[in-house]
Symmetry: D5
Subunit: 96 residues, 10 copies
């Protein structure tokens, strides 16, 4: 089940630089593990912004919230989730 | 080069039903041809809305505008384009 | 899996009154059948508006879109869907 | 009498972690007591956000404000209240 | 129980002038009867707009929705309802 | 001459608690004196928010600004003023 | 007493051209009479828009609403009124 | 003197197709004459929208309004004007 | 050449009170000198807000930016500039 | 390939003035090098704001993001990117 997620990162300017570096490194590892598991199939950077647009593939709303609220940067991001359905013109869906 | 595109369809209620059906059918064929060519790799329906979120993979801004303005439903849609870049945490990009 | 759905009805003023009455009656029957099936557990009117806030309990995003896009008033409504997860303070969830 | 309430939590990043933990724990106890009393029949987490959507069942506007302004997190939340009425298609209302 | 209600009138330009005149006249009578009953204690015009700000004093959300949805102009207005509570600095409340 | 005023209080979290308590107490006295003088005939709390909706009855725009900018909480509030006129359906105005 | 007023003209495209021309001509005469009387001391066009920003000098809110609601184009405009007060740095006010 | 202008075209769906074609053709000629005169140095299409972003170089606000309100499509466009100044980092300005 | 300028002052609460007083005093002198020169013909306070609406009369966009960016409070204000043109109904313009 | 970029600078008031001066100086050098290379053909100041509107001419979305995220002020700016295409009325394009 697919969800469209936009994340806008808002790290406070006065956050300790070392703390910041650690959180960002942990975030990357956390994200890449989920990407490899297949639950986070796409992540793109929005040009010019400290933001990403991602696609998640999860079994339930609860699983998605558990993943997102577990992000090391969760406290420093604005996140908006949009549920997706199969589009009737999708050729990949049509040929299933 | 990837672009995120959101399309919200607003067909006027008083459009002739046969005209409408023809435009929608032409739109589907047009979309599926572009999907098969690789230029429109993803299309998803937004749950509860007559809208889609799509990813386009094109060579230039001009090519994208030519594709979008050629959509049979173009006159009846609100379209917003967001340019995408490679995300530094993207495992598919990392392993390239 | 629960979803919060807000529907704002915008029927054009020049819609034929008989057509309108038929759509509204069909909408009511369609809604009540889904309520009785357990898939639409709550529906409330927003005071002062021709709008409702509803809770849906469905197996997937696709099922929810099928239900919503099948609403007889679908073409005349603005719909916004918000996915819900279990709240950690929910006493009903805690005692499960 | 039912009210729809959305609460978005905005705890400042520099709040003392122990103070924060105490407020959050007190908030949970306060919420669960109201849930058990029947005045707060529903609370759901919005997926991906530090926010909830709740339904309150109270005798008056004054009682609702007393409850909400008494929330331990009140000073750290944006709250929006929407009054609800019985929907004419509600099967539970119809069978009353 | 008090509610703040803002009503913005949007009568379509092509409404039959006689129909319009009748609706507006019926609206006035309906409003004045409710004012005299004490349920609609205040109504003010917003300067420069075809809008009013009103205060309603009703027993319940359902009663308020019944009143508002019964307004002859209901189909031609945008209505927003804000529930009100006693203010702790209100001298009239203090002296009760 | 009547004006509708909405005030949203935004006291910074790090304001000294004693300073805050003094400002809030002074604000209450200032408000109640104006209420008793007839210049501030109505003040209501918005349910769930640290906000009020008030009606002022003053002789001029300058007098209203003098009153509002003199509020002890003025530096910590967002204020929006809407000028009001007599509504043609107002029974109290009609009988004058 | 001064008020800042912004008017955005939205004449429907299908209005009869002769009716339109008459309304616009009447509007001009109405406006110029008020300008000459001193009640409408300033009117400026917003560059690129069918809109104006005006300053009115009237004795009361009721007088302003009477003037604005009497504009021949009133039914075809969005109007927003902002009450103005003397600015403490205004040299013209200082020298009074 | 430079101005940034965004124009969003909103031609009504029921405009006579021949009238529409004539207006669009006249608009093109009008625009190109101004471009050749140096008063309209840049015009770009916004990808995916029936909109343009333009730069105008004119002697005054009045001249710009005369040009924009003379556009054959003026009645069918939303236009927003932003005045521009020389940027202190502009190398072309620096070398003047 | 006239411009409409709205300035909203947002001085941080923790600014040193003496620094603040000096900036505000310098701002007043700066503003009054420009008013006396004829470049800043109007300044009004918005009732209830720490904001002003002003009219500037300058020779160019660059001159206006130089004036505005030179305001002692510039770093603490949100400023929006709207270019103005002569209105065709302006009696003062007509009689020129 | 052209992109329209708007940058709004939001430097925190409590940033060390020397750090600030260094960042601003580095930003200027960085910008001017890109302007001289042809990748940043236009930069204009928005009158009255600490903002610029720029045009970039780059080979890809990734190149644009690399340039923008490399701006010394990147952490202190809100940036919005709009992809541009050739306009069919552009005389410079027509004559190619």
């Amino acid at each position: 089940m697919l969800f469209h997620v936009r994340m806008d990162v808002r790290i406070p300017h006065d956050l300790d630089p070392q703390v910041r570096a650690e959180i960002v490194a942990t975030e990357k590892a956390y994200s890449q593990e989920l990407q490899r598991s297949g639950k986070w199939p796409h992540i793109w950077r929005i040009v010019g912004e400290y933001s990403n647009i991602s696609i998640f593939d999860v079994a339930s709303n609860d699983e998605l919230h558990q993943i997102l609220s577990g992000l090391p940067l969760f406290a420093y991001m604005d996140i908006r989730v949009t549920p997706l359905a199969t589009h009737p013109s999708d050729v990949k869906a049509v040929t299933r």
